[in-house]
């Protein structure tokens, strides 16, 4: 009896902690979303009040949709994020497979070198990157951003995926070799599906910094037609006046696509995080 009561108590404590944490984590999102539906006066009068019914106002959204090419920014962000993510996962997985599967001289050293980028922020190289992009005529193109983000995401991807690929059964790969599958077929049809949870983990950790980044769009692609949504939203933040309705509306809209991508990956992600724990 005593034992079961103490375990109920523990469950309760655990849930209390988790719920508190969830509330704290979601609070800024919640405040952003409710205030995006309010008039400017209502935002400042009572920031925590719900927009329904008397304060309800869509002025923020109408401003956002009228000013600037908001859908264009959206599209740019989407292209940059999805294409970078694709390359990070593809090249990261291929490098990880080579490092974990084949024995060759300098294997460990190469692995360390590829993972080094986790510790060195890519922004330290901004000036050099800008020079390269200028020399290559890539300034103000989405290609410039995709290249930089691919480079930025690869170290973590290689690091995490190569650990996971070591766990894929050697027998399975060898069975494929005996049955005449090429190394590419083994990689794409046998190994990749088995490391899907790890791929999802890498995808989420890679995607969010790219979507949120302001630095590289500002430096490498500030032109109107290649602006990302994060950069595009900055027009509402002025030195003297900030259009809070518009900023909050833009932020609320910007949450949506990441949320969708996250939901797609999250089922896999949870399996990835707990994979080692349950086995």
């Amino acid at each position: 009896m005593a034992k079961s009561r103490s375990s109920t108590g523990r469950t309760f404590a655990a849930h209390a902690i988790l719920i508190t944490w969830t509330v704290i984590a979601l609070f800024p999102v919640f405040v952003t979303v409710i205030n995006s539906f309010k008039s400017r006066r209502a935002i400042f009068a009572d920031p925590l009040a719900l927009p329904w019914p008397e304060h309800f106002d869509l002025v923020g959204y109408t401003t956002v949709l009228k000013q600037g090419d908001f859908f264009g920014y959206f599209q740019n962000s989407m292209i940059v994020t999805v294409v970078s993510l694709f390359f990070v996962l593809l090249f990261g997985a291929m490098a990880a497979f080579a490092l974990s599967e084949y024995r060759f001289k300098g294997n460990t050293l190469l692995g360390l070198y590829l993972a080094l980028g986790i510790m060195i922020p890519i922004r330290l190289g901004t000036v050099a990157i800008l020079q390269i992009m200028v020399a290559g005529g890539l300034v103000n193109t989405l290609t410039a951003l995709i290249l930089v983000y691919t480079a930025q995401g690869l170290p973590l991807a290689v690091f995490i995926l190569s650990e996971f690929m070591k766990t894929v059964s050697d027998d399975l790969k060898n069975a494929g070799r005996i049955d005449g599958l090429s190394e590419y077929a083994i990689f794409f049809t046998l190994v990749l599906p088995l490391v899907r949870p790890a791929m999802a983990t890498v995808a989420v950790f890679t995607m969010i910094p790219i979507w949120n980044d302001l630095w590289f769009p500002l430096i490498l692609a500030p032109a109107e037609e290649v602006k990302t949504i994060t950069l595009g939203s900055q027009i509402f933040i002025g030195q003297f006046v900030t259009n809070w309705n518009a900023v909050l509306a833009a932020l609320s809209l910007a949450i949506l696509p990441v949320l969708v991508l996250y939901l797609i990956f999250s089922r896999q992600l949870i399996r990835g995080i707990t994979a080692g724990a349950v086995k």
């Binding site: 399975l172 060898n174 070799r177 005996i178 005449g180």
Partner: protein
Amino acid sequence: MGALDLKSVTKSFGTTEVIKGVNLEVAEGEFCVFVGPSGCGKSTLLRIIAGLEDASGGDILLDGKRVNDVAPAKRELAMVFQSYALYPHLTVRDNMGLALKQAGVAKAEILKATDKAAGMLSLERLLDRRPAELSGGQRQRVAIGRAIVRTPKLFLFDEPLSNLDAALRVATRIEIARLHRDLGATMIYVTHDQVEAMTLADKIVVLRDGRVEQVGSPMRLYNDPDNTFVAGFIGSPQMNFLKSAALGQMGETTGIRPEHLNIRHGGPISGTISHVEKLGGETLVYVRTEPHGLLTVRLFGEHDYGVDSTVQLDIEPSRAFHFDADGKRLR
């Protein structure tokens, strides 16, 4: 078709030598079993034969042709793995047919071949399932079916039964023996279980530490072992090793199998019974003796002996083996 010849094959991983010069001939249609303790290099040797590892030295000949540089898929062999290694995303039929599909065989042919293999292994009702929906025994049969479908010259098995429970292991063992008779193909079978080795093999290769200790038929190894390692490894329960000097026998060590050690009043070795195992058909009596240590006596039928009682043992001198200080057999 399917004769294998290994000529001083060696293999090193970095600086550690795992296979230390193996010479071996396996004739066409022979069932050859590699036995040895865990970590002695059985799987490594099998992977070298399959082409999954490169040999560091020596030659591998299949039907007289050197195949060191031939890709695994081109060696016309099939392998069954301990972990089954079925493709998780393919159905049983596609698992079995993949090799033929890769080789560019026509669809109708593949269908015929998989149907035939499924018939031999009673897998007909499982053809559309995926590996995750099968039990361990069924998975192992699919893995064997995948090997059969290719009609290889040479079958390689790497401890195929060690993940199965005891009853299933016996049934699958019999099935593999039947397949060998029906197909007449050369088979190389790795196991650390000497019962599997004894029951299946035409020829047993005993490996230790990357070296071949002895090659021969099961009964040859049982009745005529070359050294203490082979004598101790083949046969269950294990052979007893006694001090020759205390018995007035030649050599350093005298080996006697448990069935050739008898309990006889007035026998030359006396000791106390430390444990008795009754198995119905036979009774194993463990006797602690000075200076030979714990000896096993195997008696047929049921016998009653009290633990801690004193008994005398007698050996059948004609069935004793004599070994020198290095464990080499003295004949």
